[in-house]
Symmetry: C2
Subunit: 401 residues, 2 copies
C-alpha cells in the first residue's frame, strides 16, 4: 500500500516527539508499505520566527513572511529524516518547491494548483521513505508561498491525491472525531467513520480536527482520509464518501462555537435592496457573516439578525451604526454572549424528528433558544454562552445514551 501520513506541529515539537513519530513511520514502512510523510513546522519554531519578524517589522509583507515561515517545515523534515536515518532506514526529505507544489499567488493563504509526482515517485521507487514539507508551495514566479491555516492537512491530501495513495492518515493529538468534545462531554464517543460532508460541517462548526479545505479536496479527489492519534496506536476515524452507519445513529456529532456574536438590525423598511446594502458593506470589510435570519414585522418593516465572529463584532457594530441613515433601521442590538450549538449528521436526510429531539433536550434543560438555523445535514441554535456546555451535554445524552 502507498500511505501518506501527516503529523502536525505539536507531534514534532521536540526530539522526543520526533523520535516517537519516527517510530510510527518506521512501523508503517516495515509493514511493507510505501510511505510519504508530510510535516508541519515545530510549534516553537513558528513562534520564534514570528517573534523575530515582529521585532524587525510588525507589518512585514506576506511574501517575506512566507519565505521566513517556510523554513519551519524545512527544519522539521530534515530533523525527521535524521531520526529515521539513525534507525538505519532509507529516507529523503523534500521541500515544497522540490515536489513542485504549485500554488496561486495569494501569499500566506495560497491555494494548491498542482503537485508533481516525479521526484516523490523516483524516491519511492528506490524504496525510500519520503518526508515532504507541508504548508508550503511555490507560485508561477518561483516564489515561496504558504497555504494558511490547516495548510499541512491540505498538502497531505494533495499529495495523496496525485499519487493515488491508498490512504491518507492525519495524525493529531486526539484519537479521532468524537460525537462531541471529549474534554467537555465525558461520554462522547469516537466515530469509526464519518462522511466528507459531515466532517466539513463539523470542521466549520469549531471541531478543529481537520481543516475544511483538506476535507473538500479529499472529497473532490476521493482520498480516503483517517484522523488518528500520534500518541495512542489505535484506529481513528475514517472520513469517506459513504459510511456504513452500523449504529443507526441519527447524528454524527455535536459541535459548539463560542466565538460567535449576534447582531440584530430592527425595523428595516421592507424594501428591495436593503439587506443587500447591509451585507455588501460587511463583505467589503472582509467580515464573514454566518447565520442570517430575516423576519417580517407587523408594520411593514423587517428585523435582520446575523452572526459574526467575536473579533469582528466591534467593527460590524460601528459599520452598521455609521450607515443608520442609508439603511433606515430603527434600532441596533448586539450580543457577544452567545454560542452556536449544532448537530450534524447525514442521517437527518432520512430520519425525521432529529431537530425536534434537539429542541426537546434543550427545553427539558430550560435552555432558551434565540435563533434556529437548519441545513440538510445540520441544525444550529444560538443560545446564551453560559448554557453552551450544558446544552452540548444534554443533547448528547438525548442522542447517544
Amino acid at each position: 500500500m502507498l500511505i501518506v501520513q501527516k503529523f502536525g506541529g505539536s507531534s514534532v515539537a521536540d526530539a522526543e516527539k520526533i523520535n516517537r513519530v519516527a517510530g510510527i513511520i518506521a512501523d508503517t514502512y516495515a509493514d511493507g508499505n510505501d510511505v510519504v510523510v508530510v510535516l508541519s513546522a515545530q510549534g516553537d519554531t513558528t513562534d520564534d520566527l514570528i517573534a523575530k519578524a515582529a521585532e524587525i517589522n510588525p507589518k512585514a509583507s506576506k511574501r517575506e513572511m512566507d519565505v521566513l515561515l517556510s523554513t519551519g517545515e524545512q527544519i522539521s523534515v530534515a530533523l525527521m529524516s535524521m531520526a529515521l536515518e539513525r534507525m538505519g532506514l532509507p529516507v529523503v526529505s523534500l521541500t515544497g518547491w522540490q515536489v513542485q507544489m504549485r500554488t496561486n499567488f495569494d501569499y500566506s493563504n495560497a491555494r494548491i494548483l498542482s503537485c508533481s509526482t516525479e521526484r516523490i515517485q523516483q524516491e519511492l521507487d528506490k524504496r525510500r521513505i519520503v518526508i515532504v514539507t507541508g504548508f508550503q508551495g511555490v507560485n508561477g514566479m518561483g516564489d515561496i508561498t504558504t497555504l494558511g491555516r490547516g495548510g499541512s492537512d491540505t498538502s497531505a491530501v494533495a499529495i495523496a491525491a496525485v499519487l493515488h495513495a491508498d490512504k491518507c492518515q492525519i495524525f493529531t493529538d486526539v484519537e479521532g472525531v468524537f460525537t462531541a468534545d471529549p474534554r467537555k462531554v465525558p461520554n462522547a464517543r469516537k466515530l469509526d467513520e464519518i462522511t466528507y460532508d459531515e466532517m466539513m460541517e463539523l470542521a466549520s462548526l469549531g471541531a478543529q480536527v481537520l481543516h475544511n479545505r483538506s476535507v473538500e479536496m479529499a472529497k473532490r479527489y476521493g482520498v480516503d482520509l483517517e484522523v488518528l492519534s500520534s500518541y495512542v496506536r489505535k484506529p481513528g476515524t475514517k472520513v469517506k464518501e459513504v459510511v456504513k452507519n452500523v449504529e443507526q445513529m441519527k447524528i454524527s456529532g455535536i459541535a459548539k462555537d463560542n466565538n460567535v456574536s449576534r447582531i440584530a438590525v430592527v425595523g428595516v423598511p421592507d424594501e428591495p435592496g436593503i439587506a443587500f446594502k447591509l451585507f455588501r458593506v460587511l463583505a467589503n470589510s472582509k467580515i464573514n457573516v454566518d447565520i442570517i435570519l430575516q423576519s417580517i414585522d407587523r408594520n411593514g418593516t423587517n428585523d435582520i439578525s446575523f452572526t459574526v465572529s467575536e473579533a469582528d463584532y466591534e467593527k460590524t457594530m460601528q459599520l452598521v451604526e455609521e450607515r443608520k441613515d442609508s439603511l433606515h433601521y430603527k434600532e441596533l442590538y448586539g450580543d457577544k454572549k452567545v454560542a452556536k450549538v449544532s448537530i450534524v449528521g447525514a442521517g437527518m436526510l432520512t430520519s425525521s424528528g432529529v431537530a425536534a429531539l434537539m429542541f426537546e433536550a434543550l427545553s427539558d434543560a430550560k435552555i432558551n433558544i434565540q435563533v434556529i438555523s437548519t441545513s440538510e445535514i445540520k441544525v444550529s441554535v444560538l443560545i446564551n454562552e453560559d448554557d453552551a456546555d450544558k446544552a452540548v451535554q444534554v443533547i448528547h445524552n438525548k442522542f447517544f445514551d
Copy 2:
C-alpha cells in the same frame, strides 16, 4: 553602479544589527546604485540548528544537514527584506535555488558550477534591492547543498562575477586587511590595496578575513573585491589584480598560524618512492600537509620534515608509526608547540633582501628559526609557539616603522 554586498553571520545576528546593515544597504541604494546583497545565517540560528540535529542524530547525513542548515540564510534574507520594507524600500529576497546557484554533489562542501542572472536581473530592472542567501546552492538533482567554510563570500563573488558587478564588498567585523593582526600588533596598519595572490597567501596563513575560494574565484573572473567593516563607515581594503604600491612597501602583511604541528621522520633511506609512500598514506586519510622539507643526511639517508594542523597531529603520528617497517625510517619526532610566521608581498619578486630583513629581525630578538620555506611572494618560518606574537611584532617593526 551595480554593487554586490556581503554581510556575515555576526553582522546580522540580531534585530539591532540587521537594522544597522539595512542602513548601509539603504544608503548604497539611495546613492543610485543597483544593489544585490548576500547574507549568511545568523550566528545563533546555525548553532541552534546544529544543536537540534545533534540531539536527534549526531551522525546525520550531510544531505539532510544541508537541508537543515540552509534554512539559516533563508531566515536572514527574509528578516533583512522586512527591515528594508520598513524603511519603505522596494526589496525582494531570493534563495539559492531561486537564483539557480548550481553546485556539484559534494554535500556540505559543494563547489559552485554556475549561477543564473535571470531572476536577479528581472528584480534589479524593477529597481528592487535583491537579497540573496549565501552559502547555499542546488545540485543537478535539485537537492539543496551548502558550500562549506567561507561559502557566503564565494556566493557573493560568484554573483558579482555573473552579473559583471562593478564591485563586490565583503563586510566583516574588521576594517580591512592589516599588515598584521591589529589585536596583537598595535601599530599594524590597514592596507588600502592588496593583490589577489597576496590575499590568498594571507588567507591561507591564518588571517581569516576572506576565504581563499572566494579570492581564487574573484581572481579568475576579475571581480573587484573590497573588504570593509559593517560597523565603521570608511573605505576598507581593495583586493585586485595589480595594485599601486604607493608606499613602496616591501611586504603587504605578516601572518601567524598557531594551528601547526611539525613532524620529522629521521633517517629515511635515500631511495625513490619513500617520500611518495609517506605522503600517499597521509593523503588517503585526508590529512593536509603544508610545509615539506627534505634534507640529505651524510649516511645516505634523508630527514623529511613536514607540518600538519594540530587536529591531525595524533592521527598523523599514529599512521607514520604504524608504517615504520615499510618506510624504513630510524626515528620519528613530533612537536605541537610550533607556530608558522609568514611575510607576504608581491614586492618580494622585485625587491631583494626581504627574507634577510625578516631573519635579521628574528635574530635580533633571539628567536630561533626551526624551518624556513619560501615561495615567490611569501617567506614562512616555523618557530616555537611561545615566540610567535613577539616574532610578528619585531618583524612588523622592521618592515613598517
